[in-house]
Amino acid sequence: MSEDAVRLIPADEGSWRLEAYLRRGGYEAARKAVMSMAPADVITEVRKAGLRGRGGAGFPAGLKWSFVPQGGAGPKYLCVNADEGEPGTFKDRAILVRNPHQLIEGMTIAAFGVGIRKAFIYVRGEYGRIAGRLREAIAEAEDEGFLGGGIFGSGFDLEVIVHLGAGAYICGEETALLESIEGRRGQPRLKPPFPAVVGLFRAPTAINNVETLANVPLIIGRGADWFLGRGLPKDGGTRLFGVSGAVRRPGLYELPMGTQLRTIIEIHAGGPPEGVAIKAVIPGGLSAPALRPDELDVTMDFDALARAGSMLGSAGIIVIGDKIPILDVLKVMARFYAHESCGQCTPCRIGTSWIHKTVMRIGEGQGRASDLDHILRLADGMKGRTLCPMGDAAALPVQALVTKFRDELEKAVAR
């Protein structure tokens, strides 16, 4: 384990307080960026560090910032995606609770690099109490001149507004998040145009996940090379792996990008409890296609998991023990996506509901031999055809369960 100064989730007493953060060397990176760096150099440094988005898609953060037009008289915005809704994921929550100042410092650096003076933090409704601590941290930072007008006595200003969501998974999709901040029904927009060009209130907008931004002070403070050294050549830094389910020590583990999945489960999380064997592992939040026990020797990084037919996603690892019927997993999964589909586009609206209804019918003992093929066909009807990525997010994990655990499910259907 690294020392607190370079941990996203520090263990020191009162770690969320400004004084604790300053003891850990906090706000030095922001001071360095604002006082001594050119904005373009900030973006270059983050690109060099290979920081990939921690929200799920893994898009290089610096590259994303570089799409926001430089200069211009009109407003530009930074939106922080703290709508941590992916089942099995609880990492951003930990940052907000234990280390809010590191997020704020990361925001300051990002805003300085991209030329932004106003930022929103979109916090999921269920994190309402956490948002209070975040607001306190913002007030602390403003009092010290780390936020607000004339940061560090420079000419750079940044206003930060905390915006609470109302409990919709889809608002974690970046354009639905923008709609929600604007006060409309939270549902995704067509892309292109991408938010970097036409975003919040139709202005150029950078949108980043909490964990992504919390890594930025480390990159600016210690350099891209140091950051790369903590991860992989094209996928720098550490990752917060949330482990839940059939393990002895469920929790959040900050480990280098590229750590073996089996190592995380068996060593860090202590492996499954006595008498339980692993049946399946969902490696990156519910939307990541499940892996069988023989597929766990994969490194946890974006590219390796993509090659394994899954995804790193939000790095929320859900371990499913052999006592759990796969049909139960499928039921929970199907219900979740049917419940959370925004309903805007046809394949997702009807597809998630149809799959859910079919799975529930199987659960009631009314399954038909053709049902599993039918579920695969419905998922095919959604994949790549929806307005936003949620169609894939709902279809792929269902297809993986049905394909990889077909024998067990066929028995359930025949019951």
């Binding site: 049917a338 959370e340 586009c345 046809t346 609206r349 009807i350 209804k357 019918r361 790549g384």
Partner: protein, 496 residues
């Protein structure tokens, strides 16, 4: 202009055009529900997915702007498969109550299933139960089971009328269209919602259950109810399944005219359906023998005889006509040549409906279609002075019944009582009928062909949109016969 290839064909389209429009211009139709050319693409129905070379997956044609060199394929196996799947999703939760649905026969969901679907039904689950008859205002009913959530209605009310009465509530398969706190739709353009709904989710009680779409004969004309001159489609049935010889206009819908009304008409114009069908003067009625069947040609001989009985030099003072601004430009020219030039009448008046309030969008103050045509024909329209009329006139021809918009029935009765011969030419029955020696049944504008000149001076010619009942006649025929009978040369129908 941008050059691209669609299904192997080279297509040129204006910059900013979307792929769906560009294909349409090239004669390749891409099925779609949610896209409407009047709004920004929303891309929610996913039916217009096409293959665009270089992209990893299908993309919606409605939301993809054409680029130079773009290669688009609209009927490859993956595209056809995607279309089929979208239709299957929509139909899974659709009530399939086509036998009792007003939209049947002109429903995009039906048409597309027929052309792009034809799959067996796989949906074994219970369909969502939803409300099927929600009154959303202005006689419109919402059926949430039929709704496919294309949100055309929601976007129309937000972007065209700006009234925003409808929204989408709830999410996922429970998502539904509705009014806010049950505040009903209340604007003068609500009927367009029925026109743009691609399925039978929004229906109009005025049309509901009255006929089936496939019986309707649809013909274009120009709306006569104000001076905007919107394009409208008159939809009527003649004969089967009605009685032999019966004709009814079931609906007036918006026609498309980018120069005037775009895709929309107002509810006031749409209600003009009633002018065509209701309260019509059906036959010639001679007050001396009300029961006898009389052709308009025969009856017109009486009119000519009365005019002839006034010596030529006295006609200017003793013969009067009252015209109106609903007459076509052609009819007005005839009237000018017949009454002003041929008969040298001085007393040519106009009686029109009183102006109403303009609504700031399409509806104008003038509630007649051809006030500009009246001026162009060389008339200076003015109302008659009833007392002066009563004092000197011996023969009066009245076209239309709008004297009553300006004078009380009593005043008109009193004046007309003093005039020995008065003839009424009117499309609708009314209180003036009993005052006239003969009443002639006139055609309404939908039953005529002609030209109107709208508020902006735009000249719009139209053909007959509905067949008039036998014996119903246009002013054009009346005036032509009068001229011929009186031996006046009024020339050919050139109005220019």
């Amino acid at each position: 202009m941008v050059g691209l290839t669609i299904d192997g064909r080279t297509v040129r389209a204006a910059e900013g055009t979307n792929v769906l429009q560009a294909a349409e211009q090239a004669g390749i139709s891409i099925p779609h529900f949610c896209y409407h050319p009047a709004f920004e693409a929303e891309g929610n129905c996913r039916l217009c997915l096409v293959e665009i070379e270089g992209l990893p997956k299908l993309d919606s044609a409605c939301s993809t702007v054409v680029r130079e060199g773009m290669i688009v394929r609209t009927s490859t196996a993956p595209v056809l498969e995607a279309r089929k799947d979208v239709l299957e999703f929509l139909l899974a939760e659709h009530p399939l109550d086509c036998p009792i649905c007003d939209k049947a026969g002109e429903c995009k969901l039906q048409d597309y299933y027929d052309r792009h679907g034809l799959f067996p039904g796989w949906f074994l689950e219970a369909k969502e139960k939803r409300q099927k008859k929600i009154s959303i205002g202005k006689g419109l009913l919402l059926d949430r089971e039929r709704c496919i959530l294309c949100t055309r209605c929601v976007r129309y009310l937000r972007k065209v009328t700006g009234t925003g009465e409808l929204g989408v509530f709830e999410r996922g398969v429970r998502a539904e269209v509705g009014t806010y706190d049950d505040a009903p739709i209340d604007n003068n353009y609500s009927g367009n919602l029925v026109d743009i709904c691609p399925v039978g989710a929004i229906t109009d009680t005025d049309f509901r259950f009255k006929t089936r779409a496939w019986f309707l004969e649809k013909r274009p004309t120009v709306c006569p109810r104000c001076s905007r001159g919107c394009a409208v489609i008159v939809e009527s049935v003649s004969g089967y399944p009605l009685e032999e010889g019966e004709r009814r206009v079931f609906r007036i819908r918006a026609g498309e005219n980018p120069a005037v009304n775009g895709y929309w008409i107002c509810d006031f114009g749409r209600a003009g359906r009633r002018d065509i069908d209701e309260g019509r003067q059906e036959r010639v009625i001679k007050s001396a023998s009300p029961e006898s069947e009389l052709s308009w040609q025969k009856a017109l001989a009486d009119v000519m005889a009365r005019i002839r009985s006034v010596p030529g030099p006295e006609r200017a003072a003793k013969v009067a006509v009252i015209l109106n601004s609903r007459m076509t430009r052609e009819e007005l020219t005839l009237a000018k040549r017949l009454f002003a030039e041929g008969l040298s009448l001085d007393k040519i008046f106009f009686a029109d409906p009183k102006p109403g309030a303009a609504d700031g969008f399409l509806l104008t103050e003038e509630r007649v279609p051809n006030a500009r045509g009246v001026l162009q024909a060389g008339f200076s329209p003015r109302l008659p002075d009833l007392d002066a009329l009563a004092a000197s006139v011996e023969v009066l021809l009245v076209f239309g019944s709008h004297l009553l918009d300006h004078f009380s029935e009593e005043a008109v009765s009193r004046a007309l009582a003093k005039i020995p011969s008065k003839f009424l030419f009117s499309a609708h029955t009314g209180p003036l009928d009993r005052l006239a020696e003969i009443v002639f049944p006139l055609a309404v504008s939908a039953e005529k062909s002609g030209t109107y000149i709208n508020i902006d001076g735009l000249r719009q010619s139209f053909g007959r949109a509905a067949e008039p009942a036998p014996g119903v006649v246009s002013e054009h025929e009346i005036l032509g016969c009068l001229a011929a009978g009186l031996g006046l040369n009024v020339g050919e129908h050139d109005v220019r």
